[in-house]
């Protein structure tokens, strides 16, 4: 078993990095290790466990900004935000249902560019991360970005780090934007939409400022713990609106009127049920633990047809989020994870194999293959930031 280093200071990380670079040793960089199931398996010589670098270092609610050590538990971040009635607006998903792991750190969430249903309105983790400190592939201690939202001071390495899954550097400190929690939330439900694509687009393109928009086929809706959804007896198209009460009342009524002619009926969920339903969708709670899971990002108008086509052909199940732009597809396990069928169904966009055994992920490309020019460019970026190939090598290839 690989040795584990648990640095307590940035200097420890520098030393570990220099040692790894000098000896060609691969490091498995992790926080709580809750999302190891995402990406290609890493053959590491040592684990660099960042959970010792923990703690919120700055929180100014009136400035809408927080900074924390990369290994700070998400639970700690969320508790602090809750106290000031604020939130991470991009709705990071919990690894509990996908990977059977609880916990997670802020560094891990940002490094995976995790985001949930509200992504279609406010952006992903990459849109909320403002700056970072990191240790580079040669042991360099460096920073980029800042703690303010408006910033065009040099290249935006922050975006590059969000979603790089630790392959370009070891995050030690991160700063990110936080937002006030909405006063209230409601969800309008449309049962048995006749034309799913039309319903999602009509809702998304209305002026009612949706913060989320999803569709559950009937078999999935039946697995919800929200009674209105579970007992719908039909597919459920759900749209979420947030804001002050007087605003919600008006928008809710308008959305009900807009959606009612498109299916068999409408209803609405108030704050508690809304929270439950969207947590289920965010965390991908509806699929059996044995299934392989794909996360497919496409133009929203194309999503429903692609999802139905793939589910029919592969005998799979799906949930649509982001007004159709995100497909969660669950299929029976196969050695090739049906990779050719899945990627063959996309004219554009990308498909990520979110869950499969290590053995499958070892030989199936987990991330969408790119054009030759882009592959070469990406390889040059990686080589420049991690010349010795020590940071989670192979995890994103």
């Amino acid at each position: 078993m690989a040795e584990t280093f648990k640095p307590e200071t940035v200097n420890h990380i520098v030393e570990a990095t220099q040692w790894a670079a000098a000896n060609g040793m691969a490091l498995d960089i992790c926080g709580h290790g809750t999302k190891r199931g995402l990406g290609k398996p890493v053959q590491a010589d040592a684990v660099l466990d960042l959970s010792g670098l923990s703690g919120i270092t700055l929180y100014e609610p009136e400035e809408l900004v927080m900074s924390a050590r990369a290994g700070t538990p998400m639970a700690e971040i969320e508790a602090a935000l809750q106290e000031a009635n604020q939130m991470l607006a991009f709705e990071p998903w919990s690894p509990q249902f996908l990977y059977g792991q609880t916990g997670g750190t802020i560094g891990g969430v940002l490094a995976c560019n995790g985001s949930g249903p509200r992504r279609m309105q406010v952006g992903a983790a990459r849109d909320h991360m403002l700056g970072f400190n990191a240790v580079g592939g040669g042991g360099e201690v460096f920073k980029s970005g800042g703690r303010v939202v408006k910033n065009v001071t040099g290249f935006d390495l922050t975006k590059l780090m969000a979603g790089a899954m630790g392959t370009l550097g070891v995050l030690t400190d991160v700063s990110f934007k936080v937002l006030p929690r909405p006063e209230k939330a409601r969800t309008v439900l449309l049962f048995g939409a006749v034309d799913v694509s039309q319903a999602l687009i009509k809702a998304q393109c209305s002026e009612h400022e949706l913060s989320a928009c999803a569709h559950l086929p009937q078999v999935l809706a039946m697995r919800s713990s929200v009674d209105f959804v579970k007992n719908a007896g039909a597919s459920v198209t759900a749209v979420r609106i947030e804001g002050p009460a007087p605003s919600l009342a008006v928008r809710c009524a308008a959305l009900r009127e807009l959606l009612a002619p498109l299916g068999a009926g409408v209803d609405e969920l108030h704050t508690v049920n809304t929270e439950t339903l969207w947590a289920e969708i965010r965390d991908v709670q509806y699929f059996d633990a044995t299934k392989q899971i794909w996360r497919i990002s496409v133009a929203p108008s194309e999503g429903p047809a692609i999802a139905v086509g793939l589910a029919d052909r592969l005998g799979g199940e799906y949930v649509l989020d982001w007004a159709g732009g995100l497909i969660w597809l669950a299929v029976d396990p196969a050695d090739d994870a049906h990779v050719n069928s899945v990627r063959g169904a996309l004219a554009s966009g990308h498909a990520t194999l979110m869950r499969a055994t290590q053995a499958v992920r070892r030989h199936v490309p987990v991330f969408q293959p790119q054009t030759d020019a882009l592959t070469a460019l990406t390889a040059r970026v990686r080589e420049n930031y991690d010349p010795a190939g020590i940071f989670n090598p192979g995890r994103m290839v």
Binding site: F5, K6, E8, H12, Q18, W19, A21, A22, G52, E60, E62, S115, G123, A124, R126, G136, G138, E140, V141, F142, V148, V149, K150, N151, V152, T153, G154, F155, D156, K159, L160, G163, L168, L179, P180, I201, Q204, C205, S206, E207, E209, P246, S247, V250, S297, A299, P300, S301, G325, S348, G349, F367, T371, A373, L374, L377, V381, N384, Y385, A388
Partner: protein, 495 residues
């Protein structure tokens, strides 16, 4: 401002380079005549001027690719240019570089309402995108004040902002995809009508890269449905502190206004004198707060903001009663630059971002600096997101005034960094703030940024002399600084 010394060998080969370009772009697409080159000698930062070696105005991606491939082979530098409205000198020509203008890329290629996006060529103006979709009730959210003239390609290059960033984000948050040409002529596509990248987020990394990484030839942006109602409030205070306090309380109250602008007395006076915007002249600071959304929400939030303002000690409060009045409230703020132009022969527009609560302190220090340099300063401030635009007033015909204004401006930006902010919020570094980069970043920080440059443009041919005070040779930076082969960290806890 020191620019890289022109390469004499390139200057000597000018005729050959012009000939090669003419073979790629026919007719008037290649400009070599000195009088005609004059048009391109500067951008919005007019203190610096330089004739380009030659200007080329391609019309297709294939032409851009051929131009870059040819220049790459010849070792000729490229300065990309949109409308040339940038305020930091990002499009300042170099004597030994081809200025590559995207002005002929003017087509709107696809408006896709179902997917809430528009695909346009980079030479389309920011305003033209909104105009093209306004009929269906949509708009493009980032709204830099030059939006009538500035192009979307330039907006991507500078990560342009505007008044509505707090709620709707900057260019980077509204950009879905680009097609771009690398210095070696390769054409790549990043993003599209879908969200997020399948690999590294290179789309995010090229946004705001000021023309140093590639030439953008197509842009996909997100469009939004126009809010049902917009209402503006004018709030006056008898001190800057009270105005700042009001901003903090609005945000702490969980309200995210569509826009929240603040100005100081000098700016208020200049604007109100320029155009009647209903601004009071007996206040020390003025806020324009715009609330947008469904009518019921705007109505409710207006009440809340009124209450917060009076608790914060507002001495003036007016709520727009009509669309015409809302527009009137904005008129002054929108004409900040010409207003100040009327009270001073010249002015320099600065652009830094600070943590909002440091505003009173920053303004107090600026008053001291103003006395020290003997130059006036007017302040407009995107208060919601901390982006400060001090306008330094000077007279270029007065000996030494420009130097003093530049030194004053540099002091302001250093102050922004000192209080935890950054050198540029939305105008970019360009040449203007290039030499201040070391105030915010260490040499190691800057080297790490340039590793990205090396992956895109190893020879350093794209827009050299901009953003970075010294461009490190890529080969030098690739070397590993590793020491020893044994475990040098006996004190790391191990398991």
């Amino acid at each position: 401002m020191k620019m890289p010394l022109p390469d004499r060998q390139i200057l000597a080969k000018r005729a050959q380079i012009v000939g090669r370009l003419r073979a790629l772009v026919p007719g008037e697409g290649v400009i070599a005549d000195e009088d005609e080159l004059r048009v391109f000698e500067c951008d919005g930062l007019m203190a610096y001027k330089q004739l380009p070696l030659v200007v080329v105005l391609p019309e297709t991606t294939a032409q851009v690719s051929a131009i870059l491939k040819t220049c790459h082979a010849l070792g000729v530098k490229i300065v990309p240019r949109g409308a040339g409205t940038g305020l930091s000198g990002g499009a300042l020509p170099l004597a030994d570089a081809v200025t590559l203008g995207l002005g002929k890329f003017k087509k709107i290629l696809d408006i896709d309402y179902a997917n809430r996006c528009a695909v346009v060529q980079p030479g389309v103006t920011n305003m033209a995108i909104t105009n093209a979709v306004a009929g269906e009730g949509y708009y493009y959210a980032p709204d830099p004040s030059s939006r009538i003239a500035c192009t979307i390609g330039g907006n991507v290059a500078e990560n342009a902002g505007g008044m509505h960033c707090l709620k709707y984000g900057l260019t980077t948050n509204n950009l879905l995809g680009v097609e771009m040409v690398l210095m070696n002529g390769e054409v790549i596509r990043l993003g599209g009508k879908h969200l997020d990248a399948g690999g590294l987020d290179l789309l995010g990394a090229i946004t705001g890269s000021e023309g140093l990484l590639g030439v953008i030839t197509e842009v996909t942006v997100r469009i939004l449905k126009k809010p049902a109602t917009q209402r503006a409030l004018l709030l006056g205070f008898d001190s800057v502190e009270a105005g700042g306090d009001c901003v903090a309380k609005i945000i702490a109250g969980g309200i995210v206004p569509g826009a929240m602008e603040m100005m100081d007395k000098m700016a208020i006076d200049a604007m109100q004198r320029f155009v009647d915007s209903g601004y009071p002249l007996d206040v020390e600071s003025l806020l324009v707060v715009e609330l947008d959304g469904p009518e019921a929400e705007v109505e409710y939030l207006t009440g809340r903001v009124e209450k917060i303002a009076s608790e914060a000690g507002s001495t003036f409060l007016r709520v727009s009663q009509s669309e015409a009045e809302r527009e009137q409230f904005w008129k002054g703020r929108m004409s900040a630059f010409p207003s100040v132009g009327r009270i001073s022969p010249d002015y320099m527009t600065m652009d830094g971002t600070i943590p909002r609560h440091r505003l009173p302190q920053v303004l107090a220090r600026m008053t001291e600096m103003s006395a020290k340099y003997g130059l006036r300063v007017a302040n407009v401030f995107h208060a919601g997101d901390g982006n400060l635009h001090p306008l330094v007033l000077f007279d270029a015909n007065k000996a030494g005034d420009l130097d003093k204004a530049e030194a004053f401006g540099a002091d302001i930006l250093k102050l922004c960094v000192e209080v935890g902010g950054v050198l540029s919020g939305e105008h970019g570094i360009g040449v203007e703030k290039r030499d201040l980069m070391g105030k915010m970043f260490t040499e190691v920080d800057l080297q790490q940024q340039q590793l990205l440059k090396c992956a895109f443009d190893q020879g350093g041919l794209l827009n050299p002399g901009k953003v970075y005070p010294t461009l490190h040779r890529c080969a030098e930076m690739g070397r590993l600084h590793v020491s020893g082969g044994r475990l040098p960290f006996p004190d790391i806890p191990r398991f």
